[in-house]
Subunit: 371 residues, 2 copies
Amino acid sequence: MVTNHQILFNKDTPTGLPQPGITTKPGSSEIDLDNVALNGGVLTRNIAVSLDPTMRNRMKGDIGYFAPPYQVGKPVTAIGIGEVIRSEVDTFVPGDIAYAWSIGIEEYTIHPVAATATFRKLDQNHLSNGLSITTYLGAAGMAGMTAYMSLKEIVGDLKPGNKMFVSGAAGAVGQLVVQLCHQAGVKVIASAGSDEKCEFVKSLGADETINYKTHDLKTKLKAFAAETGIHYYFDNVGGDQLEAYISNAARYGIIVACGYISGYNVDKPEDVVYPKNLFNIVTKELKYQGFLVTSFIPKWIGKFMQEVPQMLAEGKIKNREDVTFGVYGAEDAFLRLFTGDNNGKVAVLIDTERAERWNLGKQIQNSNVWK
Amino acid sequence: MVTNHQILFNKDTPTGLPQPGITTKPGSSEIDLDNVALNGGVLTRNIAVSLDPTMRNRMKGDIGYFAPPYQVGKPVTAIGIGEVIRSEVDTFVPGDIAYAWSIGIEEYTIHPVAATATFRKLDQNHLSNGLSITTYLGAAGMAGMTAYMSLKEIVGDLKPGNKMFVSGAAGAVGQLVVQLCHQAGVKVIASAGSDEKCEFVKSLGADETINYKTHDLKTKLKAFAAETGIHYYFDNVGGDQLEAYISNAARYGIIVACGYISGYNVDKPEDVVYPKNLFNIVTKELKYQGFLVTSFIPKWIGKFMQEVPQMLAEGKIKNREDVTFGVYGAEDAFLRLFTGDNNGKVAVLIDTERAERWNLGKQIQNSNVWK
């Protein structure tokens, strides 16, 4: 028997920030790795998990969210990477490194057979190119896919000279959107929550930045829009920033609706800010389209895995990670996503020894440069 | 010299209903038809004009609307049809029937040369197929193009068995959307403002109707959505109905954003209702797209003019018109658009004698069936 340290969901928190120790709490259980029943599934030793804003919506009970609510007393689940240590499915054998859409924030997880259908194997090409394992949860993982695939599907060809507004630009997805747009010759204005983050985003290629806590959002966007208007908006936050974009949109502007983080942690539901200028959707002929990256993966995963990890390994795309060590650090790390104290993609490294096999030390050092 | 009876714009009315005699007023001027200077343009004797909700937004001063605000003391302009009586452009000669995007609500209009670029000629095929001239302002005109082209462009192929919600379904555009969807095998739920209008919409093929003044919108939409959700929404009104659709949308639902009439006549700007569930745009992967029909005309006008007037002439598509006789009736007719006292497409017939050449009498009779 070994101890399986876990972060357990403890209490539905419909409004306000999630509270470590109340919304979630540290816990543990005993597990017999050799004999525990798998019922046809797979047992993983977990290496790392990704913490994403979208998880906040699963802490609100059954609100009709597309992903099921967390269950009190069970581990919080997240996107993660684990090493298969026992398997009763044909597709995975012990030693395989599996990228899973739902893994517990814990050291070991038993996956029912149905869940293994969403596993993807990381192969030696990916594990030996110098990228850290956490990068496969961020820029080379869901965050990267989100940025890359949604631009491909919803915007299509990014036209050089066109203008893009990216909100939440220092976050996991935003930082990649800034770079992909900049590389395509698109002029970028990007918002973030501190001067230091704005500086980081500028180093990635943003032409202008907005510290939304201290700058006048509307004035800055209006000046950037100038005569042409702003052609694209990559929306991670909704609320005031969405409204300000709509007011400064070019005709035929496109809004890639990725998230609505401004509404996730309000004290009262009526505090969520919604735009009051939707009639401009009609008059400017805007397209406002939401997406979940899972819808685009079948079409784009091949191209993504060929291109993006390589670009990251060569330094053509940078990524900033906020890595926490150990299961029990996950509660504070999750909170940082919403207070804005995170620096880039938030991940939790559960198994440092395994992670270091893939050159993680170097990457973590890089990551710390930004802290 | 003859008298040119006109409806003049009289006073910006930013909020509330437009007021006949205050927002607009009857007027007249003298015009010498043979000698008035055209400065390179065209003089028309006007036959009929279309009254559209979108005109309301040009009565609010300069609000950044895509069409310029009306000028106090000048005739209110609208989409209309006139007979050219003098021309200094090469493309039109006296006797031509011109469909114009902007014509005064008056008996005679002098069009500057630039304005004639948007004229379209109605040919003998169209004028001899039994359709009334007002139909070329409605089902065979902008309203028809709006319904037909926006479905083609934004929805694409209507899938038989899918579900559509149409708001403002008894209006000029809505009644055609209902029929085009029904004919494509789409199940339609349609909203209108009276039981009589609901009955009319049902006769056009709607499977379910909602009298939004007396029925519970949310309950009806939810029942219609059932397990599948509602795949499409043709939005003429915005506000509560838009919010209710979003709550009952199928995954990948499409919103064709045609108008926002619920917001045009509020007493105070803060009375406009905006949906408070935009996060579902993300989670349901909805596409919410606005359009102005002018953007689609170059691509679709040929196909439209081949198909739709013929379908109307053969009775395969029905249209209900609310025709007022004489320039001075336009003020009340315009108001009816917003009180809901109109019955279908609102048009004003200015020149009955010319209109009757094209069999208008029969059509007006048909139209009156619905009154």
